[in-house]
Homo-oligomer: 251 residues x 2
DNA sequence: TATTCCGATAGTGAC
DNA sequence: GTCACTATCGGAATGAG
């Protein structure tokens, strides 16, 4: 059964540093950040709340149990995950720049109906290009517009909504969310329907390849202009060119 | 589309001898006997009515169209197939004896809902052990007790039944027969349910292997007794031993 | 919605 | 109920002193 409770085992470690470096990315007093063992995108991490006297594993079983717990503790727990996730996102964006020369979206959120025990916040890049993404459930579970992937900000907003709304959302009914995973494959970037997984994966890869090409194009453009500026003795052109490059960011 | 009408093409040949020997087994003035291209048993042939001015291909499209045709012509057509099938069965039984040392059932019949154009009578040995038998539809379509495989004798009896019964049977409604192909896998020899196709195939093979072993045992027994008789000068024992071997036939 | 393995099931294309 | 190919779907096991 250890495969179902592996995350709980990690989160229960008194010394997270004993976890292998292939598993553990970092930790704080209240959270663990681990590499997703089967990444569904170029960057894919999990952030787990650590088990402690104040945070028993029973309360941390999943998002539903956390939301049914003491509301203030729940909010604190999720905020802890958030603060770590935001730091992590910065690190991911650094690596995006180093490796790919550009940044793209990083999503933070929970699966409405998880299958592994212990709450885990997914921190995942929006490309969804990775070998471990193999079937419709994988894809739909991360589709940012489908509803199964619950964005962290949305979940945090439940706490500030009416009690009635909080209660409704906190139910996380299987019957509501599970069917979403069987929905047709629709590209989360251009909304084009895809016939099957191989087609979808090729399609997503081509979106990503275009992004990479675009970033390369801009890098070359910037380099070109920089060289022209260096060669030019006319200091007056500088400002106009800088403005032109800044505009490219939004194109 | 030639794959759908391949049998009609064969049956329309004015000179069947031009068919390759890998296809044609034999022919008469009114029928062709060909090797099933994907045999579902150790012996598996198809007998086709030949197209002629008296027997247009439109009438011979399938069993339903034949039964909707002139009733006397239909009966004659099917009787022609039968007389060839009976001869063929004799030849198959000869080869069974030569190759395996024993004979086993040979079925003659039609699929209630065929997918290849042109009437074809299956002549197939009851082992149903063959590499080309790959899925549930294959097996159920030849299961001798399921109802999808229409035994030739049963079909011929329809002609001598009441007109009402003939009309009913002649409908060959898809909605009645198609669902049978999805039935659970049940061994046609011992009625044991089989979980899946690999299991069924192993099971059928073991039935056949037992038959072969049994036949070998008898052959050895007969040989032994013959040798004893040859060595014995006592002629009185002969009759008793012959009777004993005859009894083994039914065991 | 952990993966992996096996097998059944479904759609397609075949000229 | 043609085949062969691809992909999806569905269940079961998964560990292990």
């Amino acid at each position: 059964m250890s495969f179902l409770t592996i995350l709980r085992q990690y989160a229960s470690k008194t010394d997270p540093a004993t976890l292998p470096p292939t598993v553990l990315f970092s930790h704080s007093t209240t959270t663990l950040t681990i590499f997703d063992a089967y990444p569904k995108a170029t960057f894919h991490f999990l952030i787990l709340p650590r088990v402690s006297p104040n945070c028993p594993s029973s309360a941390l079983a999943n998002l539903k149990s956390v939301l049914a717990w003491d509301k203030d503790k729940a909010k604190q727990c999720i905020r802890d995950l958030q603060s770590n996730a935001l730091e992590l996102r910065d690190k991911i964006e650094e690596e995006m720049m180093e490796k790919y020369g550009f940044k793209w979206d990083v999503w933070m959120g929970f699966h409405a109906v998880p299958s592994l025990e212990h709450l885990h916040l997914h921190v995942i890049s929006s490309d969804l290009c990775a070998p471990a993404l193999k079937n419709k459930k994988h894809y739909n579970s991360f589709h940012s517009k489908l509803g199964f992937f619950l964005h962290l900000n949305d979940v945090l907003e439940w706490f500030d909504a009416t009690e009635s709304h909080f209660k409704t959302m906190a139910k996380l009914e299987k019957s509501k969310y599970e069917p979403l995973l069987k929905d047709d494959l629709v590209c989360h970037r251009c909304y084009e329907r895809q016939k099957n997984i191989p087609t979808l994966k090729t399609h997503l890869q081509s979106h990503f390849d275009k992004d990479v090409q675009k970033a390369k194009g801009k890098a070359i453009l910037i380099l070109k202009r920089k060289r022209e500026d260096d060669e030019s003795s006319d200091g007056r052109k500088d400002q106009a060119k800088k403005a032109s490059v800044d505009q490219d960011k939004d194109s």
